[in-house]
């Protein structure tokens, strides 16, 4: 069993089945991609893992421990941090303060000066230390995404959930991001679960890819295998198998939803 497992998760919103018997497993020290067309349930899965949504049935198990009774504010202390699709920073705080909020969560008893130093180091690690004392509003979108990443990293997580980190980035930035996500795995030994529309990125960095459609897992496996899976191609292209050879179910320009 992996570091994180979702087991037979089921969740409905009114009449819409958001997650329909979803099971997936993320092995420790790997990068897992979670893809699927819009509305397939990817962000819902994140919200279930971080306990913002409550499952009707099924379970989320992290490091051998069920999260069913964990309040959202405890999830990060167990070692799960996340970023958001639409960047959810604290607007009037400085970049450094934003990261400090993340650092406080896991280090209740460390000295404030140590925390500040490690927060600055985290900013340096993601390459935005020069913005440390700028307010978090008014910075470019790509920078804000890095601030969010730094805030998540500051909590020293074991599992990092990235919700569309490439959204709104240009081609070079996406390349940098891909290299960076691999660094997180290799240098920090992080396990990463990545929701992304940018197919090139997902296929390049993931060790394993899970595909959701209408709340169900329709495929699971190494990137090359998933790309050839007829069910996946059908989900993305609506049954048009003739263009299967392109191997890019979605244009690499990426949707930003």
């Amino acid at each position: 069993m992996g570091l994180l497992s979702i087991e037979n998760a089921r969740l409905r919103f009114g009449g819409i089945v958001a997650l329909d018997d979803v099971s997936l497993d993320v092995a420790e020290g790997t990068i897992a991609g979670l893809i699927g067309p819009n509305g397939a349930g990817k962000t819902t899965a994140f919200n279930v893992i971080t306990r913002l949504y409550r499952l009707e049935s099924g379970d989320v198990v992290f490091d051998g421990r069920s999260l069913r009774r964990t309040p959202p504010s405890r999830v990060v202390q167990l070692g799960i941090a996340r970023t958001f699709q639409n960047v959810e920073l604290f607007p009037t705080m400085t970049v450094l303060e934003n990261v400090l909020v993340g650092a406080h969560a896991h280090a209740r008893f460390r000295r404030e000066s140590d925390l500040r130093r490690s927060a600055l180091e985290t900013l340096e690690y993601v390459g935005i230390e020069r913005y440390a004392h700028r307010p978090a509003t008014g910075l470019p979108f790509g920078t804000l995404k890095r601030v969010e990443l730094a805030r998540a990293l500051a909590a020293s997580p074991r599992l990092l959930l990235l919700d569309e980190p490439a959204g709104g980035l240009n081609h070079e930035e996406v390349q940098e991001l891909g290299a960076f996500i691999r660094r997180l795995r290799d240098e920090l030994r992080l396990t990463v679960l990545l929701v992304e529309h940018h197919m090139n990125l997902v296929m390049q960095v993931s060790d394993h890819v899970h595909v959701l459609n209408f709340g169900r897992v329709i495929a699971s496996g190494p990137p090359a295998e998933v790309q050839r899976n007829p069910k996946v191609i059908e989900a993305y292209l609506g049954g048009d198998l003739s263009s299967a050879e392109s191997a890019h179910p979605v244009s690499s320009a990426g949707e930003t939803a």
Partner: protein, 337 residues
């Protein structure tokens, strides 16, 4: 595309960066007002006296306005019961003093009681309705207003009570100007409590977590902030500020009665809106501005008698809001549609 640069914009651009932030209508206006007050005070003793009295009164408005802003930022409603909560805690101080505590012992004990009171109000009355609708929370605060008023009248009666004066009756003479010790004391205590609270929010872990909880509850929760607890603590601190305002308002009115904070709450509303509801600094500046302005107008403009002060304050507020709808320190909310 060519952008048309206005003359003031061009002038501002050529300034060093630290100065650029100040060359805006609101800071400039405030600076002009300060110069006016200083020059006026140097020229006229009466003016100086009224200015100091106005400052003292203004800091009381400002404290209560700041309490309103804290709640507004945390819970996104105006707490209509804020004034009555302050009044009730002032009665607690009265009770403690009548049991034999000295004024200042009672003062600090009351602040502790106020904190607990604020936390309990949030947990018992606000939390259950918080996620239903804003209107529900507002109705609850209005209900609390009536409930607290009723309970205080039932417990202590509606007759006038008298408390010992916190500050002596000494009057200091500087040049020809007489400063009442009470005004100076009020000013000192209010400013000190506001500064302490500011430092708490600015420099402590708790303050940072409280700001995070108020700004973005969902993402604060996910980075490990216990949002519900932080909101309750926020209500506690707002109640403490209110208690300071109440305790400082009582000596200014010489008597304690259940209606103690009702006019002050209205001025605090005005101050908070003037400053821009979401801005703590704006609330304090708004309160002080209102206090000084009303005192000077009362002194020098004949027709503004004490009955006309409140309508006059709101007339001014209306004019300010017509020019700057988001308040002096507020930012216009721009929403993508």
């Amino acid at each position: 595309m060519a952008t048309v640069e206005t003359r003031p914009a061009r002038l501002r651009r050529d300034l060093p960066q630290w100065l650029r932030a100040l060359v805006r209508p609101v800071p400039l206006g405030l600076a002009a007002a300060c110069v006016f007050l200083v020059v006026g005070s140097l020229l006229s003793n009466d003016f100086a006296q009224q200015t100091v009295a106005g400052l003292a009164q203004g800091t009381i408005f400002g404290s209560l306005a700041l309490a309103l802003v804290l709640i507004y930022r945390a819970t996104e409603v105006i707490n209509f019961a804020q004034g009555e909560m302050a009044m009730a805690t002032t009665y607690v101080a009265y009770q403690l003093i009548s049991w034999g505590l000295s004024y200042w012992e009672a003062f600090f004990a009351t602040l502790v009681v106020a904190f607990v009171f604020g936390v309990v109000v949030q947990v018992v009355f606000i939390r259950p309705v918080q996620h239903t609708s804003v209107i529900a929370v507002v109705i609850v605060t209005v209900g609390l207003f009536i409930l607290i008023d009723g309970l205080v009248t039932w417990k202590w009666g509606a007759d006038l009570k008298f408390m010992p004066a916190p500050f002596g009756k000494t009057v200091y003479h500087v040049g020809g100007v007489a400063f009442a010790q009470q005004d100076l004391g009020t000013l000192l205590v209010s400013v000190l409590s506001v500064l302490l609270l500011w430092a708490l929010f600015r420099f402590t872990k708790l303050g940072l977590a409280m700001r995070a909880a108020a700004l973005r509850p969902a993402s604060a929760r996910l980075v490990g902030v216990r949002v519900d607890r932080m909101l309750a603590i926020g209500w506690g601190f707002a109640a403490v500020l209110g208690a300071v305002a109440g305790l400082m308002a009582e000596p200014a009115q010489y008597v304690l009665q259940p209606s103690l904070m009702q006019p002050i709450l209205l001025y605090a509303f005005a101050a908070a809106v003037l400053g821009g509801l979401e801005s703590p600094a704006g609330a304090v500046v708004g309160g002080i501005a209102l206090g000084v302005f009303l005192n000077l107008v009362g002194q020098y403009v004949g027709f503004v008698t004490s009955e006309l002060r409140l309508p006059f304050a709101f007339a001014v507020l209306l004019v300010v809001l017509l020019v700057k709808p988001a308040g002096l320190f507020g930012r216009a909310r721009v929403r993508r549609v």
